[in-house]
Amino acid sequence: MNYIWSFLILISIVVGAVNGKLNDVVNALLSGAETSVKIAIGICGVMVFWLGIMKIAEKSGIVEWLSKILTPVANFLFPEVKGNDKIIGDVAMNFSANALGLANAATPMGLKAMDEMQKINKDKSSASNSMCMLLAMNTAGFQLIPATVIAILVSCGAKNPTEIIIPTFIVTSFAFIGAIVTAKIMQRIFPPQTESGGE
C-alpha cells in the first residue's frame, strides 16, 4: 500500500507537470480531500442506523442463528474464527446484504465483522487472514441483481435491460470464487502475520 499510494501521488505530480496540468492536480487534491469527508459524512447516518439494527439482531439471536447454519462454509473460509458466532453471523449478514444489492446495509455489517475480527487479531496494525478473506469477498462485489447498472440502461432507453442479469451473475460469481481462491493461495505465499506485517 505504501508503494501504490506514493506511486499514485508522485506520478500525478510528475505527469501533471509534464502535461501542464499541475493546477488541475492541486485542485483535485483539495476537492478530493473535501469529497472524502463528504463521503464519510454521507455514510455516517446509514452506518449509525444499521449498527443499531445489527445490535438488535445480535441480542435477539438472529446473528447467532445465521452463523449456526453457515458454520461449515465459514470454517473453510475463516478457520481462524472457528466457533465465533458473532463474526460468522456478521459475515453472513454482510454477504446477504451485498447479494441483495443493499450496499448501504452491507458496509456497516461488514465493518462489524471487521471489528470482531480485530478483537482476536494477533497484530492490531496488520490484516489477519480472516480480514483479507472478508475483503476479498467484498471487493469482488458479488450481487444477484446489478440494480444501478440496469437503472442506467433503462434511462438510456435499452430495449431489454434485464438481459444483462444472467451474464453479470455468471461473471460476478466467477470473480467471487476467484477472489476466495486467490485469498486462500495468498495465505500460503505471504509470510504469516506475527513475523512481519508485509505489504
Binding site: I9, S12, I13, G16, N19, K21, L29, G32, A33, T35, S36, I39, A40, C44, M47, F49, L51, G52, I53, K55, I56, A57, I62, L102, L111, D115, K124, S125, S126, A127, L134, L135, A136, N138, T139, A140, I145, P146, V149, I150, L153, C156, G157, K159, N160, T162, E163, I164, P167, T168, I170, T172, F174, A175, G178, T182, M186, I189, F190, E199
Partner: protein, 180 residues
C-alpha cells in the same frame, strides 16, 4: 422478461423493509429491549465513521490527483493497443481500469459509453456486465481497514486486484458468448 422485471422490482422494494421488519419483530418476541439496544449499537456508528476519514482521504485524494494529471488517460492509452488484440473495444478500457479505483468515476465512464454508443450494442452490454460485476476495490479497502485501524493490508490489495482482473476477463468471455 416482463415477469423478471416485475420480480426484480418487488425484490428491490421489499428487501430492505423486510429485513428490518423481521429483525424487529423477532427481537420483540424474544423480549429484547429494542430501543435501548438500538441506541447502544448505533453509538458506535459515529466512531466508526470518524475512524474511516483519514484512510478515505488518503485514497480519494490520490485517485483524484491521478485522474486530474492525465496519468489515468495515459495508462488507458497504453493498455488500449494490447487490449484491442483480445477483442476488447477501446471504449471499454477506461472502465476496466477505473472501476477498481473509483466508483463514481466508473459510473461516469459507463454512462458515457451507454450514451455515446447504441444502447443495445455489444460495447454497452459488455460495459454493463463489467460494471455490474465489480466493486471499487480501493474504496472497500480504505473503509474496511480504516474502521479498525489496519495499516498493513498484507495480501488484501493484490487479491482484490486479481479478482478485478478475473472479473474483466470473465466479462469479456461471457459477453462474447451471450451477445457477440
Amino acid at each position: 422478461m416482463e415477469n423478471i422485471r416485475h420480480i426484480l422490482d418487488i425484490i428491490s422494494v421489499y428487501a430492505l423493509p423486510s429485513i428490518i421488519f423481521v429483525i424487529l419483530l423477532w427481537a420483540l418476541i424474544k423480549k429484547v429491549p429494542v430501543y435501548e439496544t438500538f441506541v447502544d449499537g448505533a453509538k458506535e456508528g459515529v466512531d466508526v465513521t470518524l475512524r474511516i476519514v483519514p484512510y478515505l482521504t488518503a485514497i480519494v485524494v490520490a485517485v483524484a490527483m491521478f485522474r486530474a494529471s492525465g496519468a489515468l488517460d495515459m495508462l488507458t492509452a497504453c493498455c488500449a493497443g494490447f487490449l484491442d488484440k483480445i477483442n476488447m473495444p477501446s471504449d471499454i478500457v477506461p472502465l476496466a481500469i477505473v472501476r477498481s479505483l473509483s466508483g463514481s468515476a466508473a459510473l461516469g465512464v459507463f454512462s458515457d459509453i451507454a450514451s455515446s454508443n447504441p444502447v443495445d450494442s455489444y460495447v454497452t452490454k459488455l460495459g454493463a456486465i463489467m460494471l455490474g460485476s465489480s466493486e471499487t476495490t480501493f474504496y472497500v479497502l480504505a473503509v474496511y481497514f480504516g474502521s479498525v485501524g489496519i495499516k498493513k493490508v498484507r495480501y488484501a490489495l493484490i487479491t482484490g486486484l486479481i479478482a478485478d482482473f478475473l472479473g474483466i476477463v470473465g466479462a469479456i468471455v461471457v459477453a462474447n458468448w451471450f451477445f457477440a
